[in-house]
Subunit: 197 residues, 2 copies
């Protein structure tokens, strides 16, 4: 083997060794690079199956925007955002392209195991998704509902109340940041929050 | 430069290039490799400041293990687990060494912005930590409380109720998996759940 050949072999071996070392040192839990929305050719949104491994924002129980007596059997809602959008918001106070919120609705349970009062979370009920994608939507943002185990969903028409309500009352760019305490602090600090919400 | 010298230079350059390439391809949102507990030399636990970027497990509102009337002003609890332990549990149904749970307690709010009933989350109130570390603790698990902004905390004595209650009622290895619906399914599938909890 000539010296030059040997050099190339050594380069290849060391390059591979470096990659192998780095691969071993990666956290098993790391999130994939591309965590943006996926659409079918027919413009249906593909269910974001791993949203429970995204960044958690907050939860509510029995929340309602119309007055009334408390529900006897209220539902929990848990809100998650894709990690790349979260990272961007923490740095800038703004929601980037390809932001996705997953609002998971779960039944509540009061008595079970050793719990005797208050509420904890039970069965999955539904998943609602709010996504920012200017290339897909003239209004930048769109809503989708996954009410069962379906893998894709059609966009909720823009005539639905969710669009006008988020437009009017979302504290930052149609998003209800006012209900996400850790992000509310970010938006105030970054000066990106509306004066009224 | 001799051929051998050249080889070493090329090896070094290619190794560095490989590392640089891999570094560029990492997702910005990735979690640090070592997400286990950290202790001071005096055996205080260091507050896990980034727990809000861990994996969310579930929330409760006004949960109590003793009967009574509902609280007029109930608190939310949000539970997070470090990503490496989550990954391991999903694969095996067991909690590995260096598992950390962060239980965040927050005030609840009922009327604010456009919300009129039910509850959403407000100010931070306290952080409780449950950690598995056989090298540090004879009983494997320990509890810590961070009730203010302090950066370190002393271990809660093993005479406290939390130890005996978790020992007796934790569905998997002293952990209240019965209140974490997505993990309860995992434990049932993996056969690691107690018969009674």
């Amino acid at each position: 083997m000539r010296a030059r050949d040997l050099s190339f072999v050594l380069i290849a071996v060391s390059f591979t060794a470096a990659l192998a070392l780095v691969a071993r040192s990666q956290p098993e839990s790391q999130v994939a690079v591309d965590d943006g929305p996926r659409f079918t050719r027919g413009n249906q949104m593909v269910r974001p199956d791993n949203y429970r491994e995204w960044i958690y924002l907050s939860s509510g129980l029995g929340m309602s925007y119309t007055p009334g007596t408390a529900d006897a059997d209220p539902s929990f809602d848990n809100v998650f955002v894709n990690p790349s959008a979260y990272k961007s918001f923490v740095a800038t106070g703004r929601w980037p392209e390809k932001t996705i919120f997953a609002l998971e609705i779960r039944q509540s349970v009061s008595k079970g195991s050793i719990n005797r009062k208050g509420h904890y979370q039970g069965e999955f009920a539904a998943l609602e998704v709010h996504v920012k994608d200017e290339r897909h939507f003239p209004g930048k943002w769109a809503f989708y509902g996954f009410n069962g185990p379906e893998k894709t969903a059609s966009m909720i028409p823009t005539s639905a109340d969710c669009y006008s309500c988020h437009e009017q009352h979302g504290a930052v760019d149609t998003v209800f940041v006012q209900f996400y305490p850790t992000l509310l602090d970010v938006a105030k600090r970054q000066g990106t929050i509306r004066t009224q919400y």
